[in-house]
């Protein structure tokens, strides 16, 4: 038997393309975040509300990933912002190449903020760098307070946690304090926001934070 030593990262190709994407974002002065959650937590609703709130302040665009349909891109495009849909046809996550290809459809020089809306999944997207400045993980109150403990890698890799659907708190058995404690036990540096895309609660704080991030990046 003869042995060939390789010692190469399996995702090195993805990481290389992610590095290229990141450089483009930095060169253009755009703040880019990778929005992750389980399906139905409210990623698209958060982006609709955000686009509506920031329409006079920031030039925003969305790259949305889904297994099928361009419904999400259609939804955010209604708010007058550029939206590109990536259909993964079964793929459970976005990767850096898919994002790089989608960037061809956007005028990056005309943007302040770009959101990479990942496929709804709290497992696989944790492993794939897309070139974003940070991951923002969205969790809804209907999912229970144990999600951070069950899917720790995602919460460990994220910089921000948005707890959505807080308008439903009177109707669900979600202990918000325990949720926060669980999330911070996995990642003490998480910045936490609480929002409702139905009532609009928390949107002021979230959008003010986005404005600060884009100002830093410009």
């Amino acid at each position: 038997m003869s042995v060939i030593t390789i010692e190469r990262k399996v995702l090195e190709k993805n990481d290389e393309i992610a590095g290229r994407n990141r450089k483009r974002f930095l060169d253009q002065g755009i703040f880019v975040f990778n929005l992750v959650s389980s399906p139905g937590a409210g990623k698209t609703s958060l982006l609709e509300r955000t686009a509506e709130t920031l329409k006079d302040d920031l030039r925003m665009a969305v790259v949305a990933g889904d297994v099928q349909t361009d419904l999400d891109a259609q939804r955010v495009a209604r708010y007058g912002i550029p939206a590109v849909q990536i259909v993964t046809r079964g793929g459970c996550h976005l990767d850096a190449k898919l994002v790089e290809d989608a960037l061809g459809q956007l005028d990056l020089a005309a943007l302040d903020l770009l959101v990479l809306e990942n496929v709804g999944n709290l497992v696989c997207p944790a492993s794939y760098d897309l070139g974003e400045a940070m991951k923002v993980v969205l969790l809804s109150t209907t999912e229970g307070e144990e999600k951070p403990l069950k899917y720790p890698a995602m919460f460990r890799n994220a910089a921000v946690l948005v707890v959505n659907k807080i308008d439903l708190l009177p109707h669900v058995t979600c202990d918000l304090e325990l949720l926060r404690k669980n999330a911070l036990s996995i990642n003490p540096d998480l910045e936490v926001f609480e929002t409702s895309c139905t009532s609009g609660a928390g949107m002021t704080e979230w959008c003010a934070w986005l404005k600060r991030q884009t100002a830093k990046q410009a």
């Binding site: 003869s2 390789i6 399996v10 993805n14 696989c124 492993s127 720790p152 669980n182 036990s185």
Partner: protein
Amino acid sequence: MHELSIATGIVEIVEQHVAVERRPDVRTVTVAVGDYSGVVPEALTFSFEVVAADAGIEEARLEIRRVPVVLRCPGCGHEVEQEPPLPACPGCGGKRLEMVSGSELQVLEVELEDRAEETS
């Protein structure tokens, strides 16, 4: 279930290191898989068999070396083999622990059977 794309990545790397005529001789592909890498070893083994057959290395077996999660306290340097959450550093009580290993996903080596004419 992204193990299929991970398996494809592994096989692509093997292809870059092993010439076409030697691929049927590949017997073992050894990979390091961190316990925090998000990869399920059983699903990866299954996916690898499918992808390897298509790439002409169907005799290859995937050997997975698990890498445990090690957390390190930047304050006092104490290391502990445990997955988060860990409430505090057992050494100094520090709250922020860095992960020094456990997220690995790496192709380490391939083992090829020597051909008769080459060994004689």
